[in-house]
């Protein structure tokens, strides 16, 4: 087993004890906190760019008829909204949180591979500059959906190779980030920190990192085959040349379904840190929580077919994918029950991170319920490719993954900056987000059930009212998010000094609370003693 033995040998470079100044600090950053900060800032920027695209979508869908944008531009917005939110906002935010928190939680001085860490971050701005620049090339951005199904994706204009290269870069970055997390956790835990003693956030990231390493190369392979189909006359997915367009779907969703859990497992970890703190009570069933995450991760590899029921599948495969998918409800249920039991007979207070965590609990469960409905194959034939699916995955990604990220930021921000943030404003941010996220996405269940397909820029008039409600919710949700950077910037600049424990009267557990706020540049220069 891994034993932490690196902390006392890591400081021969005296000049690394202080951050470099100016641009060099960021360009040549090797410090886990600086890199974590860059990841988080980057993801916040992407969150607003992806959000702006969502605003275009909701504005066009405010009423029937085409008022604002051409259908092609609309498709460009849906496609790139997804790509940017998934690869630009959610995933880098989690890597940023891992960079900041994993060394602090396991009692390490830094991440294990600091230069690779730098590289994996600095790839991202180039990848997304490349992706966003496709807006200006002939043919515009990719418009075939983020799932890139051929043959449609092969009709993309000049942006096609740029898109593929951008995805390769994002994949390389994710893989490096994942390797770094695994190596750090396996080698740099403080003496006495056995794996089962490790905090849940680090655990959820360890499992997520394995998922990333397993599936990002699969995506790379799939898009590379698209590239050769497009430019080198191969026929991997071209039926006219003996290829198989459905094969792409299988390969894509073999990546795509674990990807769903890559975007939510670290949020599970964050929620498992926050609920005990503000319930003033240890996490209920901590070991079963770890097993639940591991089971979900395993099941995520054998359910990809449920994305493709309507594409034609043998009965046996339909039954298998249905049952495997329904099985995911069991470990997910265990997690929700354990979280509820954590609050049970606790002593709850409702600071912003706790509010976001509670909203996560309720709203992620709603996404879970619609997920269960979608697993029922015959019903899936009606739900599939409608707004019901859009509502489902936005419930698990926005009040799921993104609320999880926001909860984490509000939980650890005072630790990072050394200042408390404006609690009142953060509570405003919470209530506006929690209310309008439902106004935005709940009506989309109705739209889907009533028969509105997804990815359409214009719709039959009977869908008007719910679309208007959804758009109003969308604009309000979008505007509410402006509070988030305001609160963060205020907190970075100053404010009431945060103590080491930050949430003093809750006595949070975890090594990160044993260090001052903000923590020293090299976190744990001597390994902490684990009882």
């Amino acid at each position: 087993m891994a034993h932490a033995h690196t902390s006392d040998t890591a400081h021969h470079d005296d000049h690394h004890d202080q951050p470099a100044t100016g641009i060099k600090r960021w360009l040549f950053a090797t410090n886990h906190k600086d890199i974590g900060t860059m990841y988080l800032v980057f993801s916040l920027i992407m969150f607003f760019i992806g959000g702006a695209m969502a605003m275009v979508i909701r504005a066009e869908l405010f009423q029937p008829g085409l008022q604002l944008v051409d259908p092609v531009f609309f498709n460009q917005m849906t496609t790139n909204h997804a790509l940017i939110m998934i690869f630009g906002a959610v995933m880098p935010a989690f890597v940023g949180l891992a960079n900041w928190m994993v060394p602090l939680q396991i009692g390490a001085p830094d991440m294990a591979l600091p230069r690779m860490n730098n590289f994996s971050f600095w790839i991202l701005p180039f990848a997304f500059t490349l992706l966003l620049s496709t807006l200006f090339v002939p043919g515009g951005m990719a418009a075939g959906g983020w799932t890139l199904y051929p043959p449609l994706s092969l009709q993309t204009g000049d942006s096609f190779p740029m898109l593929i290269f951008a995805i390769h870069m994002m994949g390389a970055s994710s893989i490096m980030g994942a390797i770094n997390v695994i190596v750090t956790i396996m080698n740099m835990r403080a003496p006495g920190m056995t794996l089962l003693k490790m905090p849940l956030f680090a655990w959820s990231w360890l499992i997520t990192a394995y998922l990333l390493i397993a599936v990002m190369p699969v995506l790379a392979g799939a898009v590379t085959m698209l590239l050769t189909d497009h430019f080198f006359k191969t026929s991997f997915f071209n039926a006219a040349g003996g290829g198989d367009p459905v094969m792409f779907e299988h390969i894509f969703w073999f990546f795509g379904h674990p990807e769903v859990y890559i975007m939510v497992l670290p949020a599970f970890g964050i929620i498992s840190e926050i609920l005990p703190t503000f319930s003033r009570k240890p996490l209920f069933g901590a070991t079963s929580m770890i097993y639940a995450i591991a089971s979900i991760a395993f099941l995520s590899f054998i359910v990809w077919g449920h994305h493709m029921f309507a594409d034609g599948m043998p009965v046996a495969a339909q039954l298998f994918y249905m049952m495997a998918t329904m099985l995911i409800a069991v470990p997910t249920g265990v997690k929700v029950f354990n979280w509820t039991a954590t609050m049970w007979r606790g002593s709850l207070s409702f600071e912003p991170p706790m509010l976001f965590a509670i909203a996560f609990l309720f709203l992620f469960s709603i996404g879970g319920f619609s997920g269960l409905m979608l697993a029922i194959v015959p019903a899936d034939f009606q739900y599939n490719q409608t707004y019901f699916v859009v509502a489902h995955f936005h419930y698990v990604l926005v009040p799921g993954a993104i609320f999880g990220i926001m909860a984490g930021v509000y939980y650890w921000l005072p630790k990072w900056t050394g200042h408390m943030y404006n609690m009142t404003l953060a509570k405003w941010h919470f209530w506006l987000s929690a209310i309008f996220v439902n106004v935005l996405f709940f009506p989309q269940h109705f739209l889907g059930l009533a028969g509105m397909p997804r990815r359409i820029p214009d719709y039959a008039v009977q869908f008007t009212d719910w679309n208007m409600v959804s758009s109003i919710g969308g604009f309000a949700f979008g505007l509410s998010q402006i509070l988030f950077p305001i609160i963060i910037i205020q907190c970075v600049r100053g404010g009431q000094k945060a103590t080491a424990e930050v949430w003093a009267d809750t006595h949070p557990t975890g090594l990160e609370w044993t260090l001052p706020s903000p923590p020293p540049y090299h976190s744990f220069t001597t390994a902490p003693v684990i009882p």
């Binding site: 009709q155 034939f381 009977q462």
Partner: protein, 314 residues
């Protein structure tokens, strides 16, 4: 419901603001008039007019109610905890409550039982849905960017036509057309030439595509399946006798620029009326074929293929 239901889309009431709020609450509780309509009421699945669509509706409502029941229990416990165990009300945390093997086994087993109970009826419907044997009429449905082609076999052998978005919808849907969609009858859900089928007949569709992936979907039939180039997917439905009328759907797989503008309209007629329609179609084909010009509209498949293939093969 023996009258022609050509206007039935108007019967989908567009609820006003207040009705919306009520509908939200009602739908959240799973009530609503959907239970008595064939077509969606605006916030729930249609019951539809085939055995399959009814089975799907039943499954959908069963699973929905199971979810509601679970939600009431779980959210109820959560809300109770949030109210009861508040720090501000002096609640003291019971830090010994951290583990209970018994409880954890119970809340693992119960969901498994519920899931199995859901999976069994669902599996039965899957077997029913996939049984395409003994069909009485087969129609080859081909997706194009952005129209559908219907080629009849069996009793309709020789009938072959394209179905595209109706002209008035097409004018109104242009960017900043200035035409209010509400003034266009069946906006985006009307075609120039609907697919015609007989009621009470097991109709099998053979779906494929000449360019990109499309999906043929009529919610009232509970019928959706992708049309994929190089593949032939099967799909069947039997519309109940007495439910003759017009049924509408849309392409359900992103297929490019005009994905939102390739509707599906199915005109269900009595078997006798269908026979008459087939005769009319065949007569029209003969008439068109008679004067020299080799078939314009009814035999459009080869030119359309040639026109589309270069993009598909890129």
């Amino acid at each position: 419901m023996s009258v022609t239901r050509g206007d039935h889309d108007d019967s989908i009431s567009r609820p006003n603001g207040l009705a919306c709020a009520c509908a939200l609450i009602l739908a959240a509780l799973g009530w609503g008039s959907a239970a008595h309509a064939n077509t969606s009421n605006g916030y729930n699945l249609p019951i539809g007019v085939t055995q399959l669509s009814r089975d799907i509706y039943t499954l959908h409502m069963e699973v929905f109610w199971v979810c509601v029941a679970i939600a009431v229990v779980v959210f109820g416990v959560m809300i109770y905890a949030l109210v009861k165990f508040r720090h501000s009300q002096g609640a003291i945390a019971d830090t010994t409550l951290v583990h209970s093997t018994k409880v954890e086994i119970i809340w693992t087993i119960i969901p498994v039982v519920i899931l199995v109970a859901m999976a069994i009826p669902a599996a039965r419907v899957i077997l029913f849905m996939e049984d395409t044997r003994n069909s009485e009429l087969s129609i080859r449905v081909t997706g194009y960017q952005w129209k559908w082609q219907y080629q009849y076999m069996d009793a309709g052998e020789g009938v072959n036509f394209f179905s595209t978005l109706a002209r008035d919808s097409n004018f109104a849907r242009q960017l900043r057309s200035g035409i209010d969609p509400k003034t266009v009858p069946n906006y985006l859900l009307e075609v120039d030439k609907p697919m015609v089928i007989p009621s009470g007949t097991k109709v099998r569709l053979l779906l494929t595509s000449m360019d990109v992936i499309h999906a043929w979907w009529v919610p009232d039939f509970g019928a959706k399946r992708s049309a994929i180039p190089g593949f032939v997917n099967e799909l069947w439905f039997r519309v109940d006798p007495g439910k003759e009328g017009i049924y509408r759907g849309q392409c359900a797989a992103l297929c490019g620029r005009d994905h939102g503008f390739m509707p599906i309209v199915v005109d269900v007629r009595t078997p006798d009326d269908f026979k008459k329609w087939v005769e009319e179609q065949k007569a029209a084909v003969k008439q068109a074929a008679a004067p020299a010009a080799p078939a314009a509209s009814t035999d459009a498949a080869p030119p359309a293929t040639a026109q589309v293939l270069p993009t598909a093969a890129n």
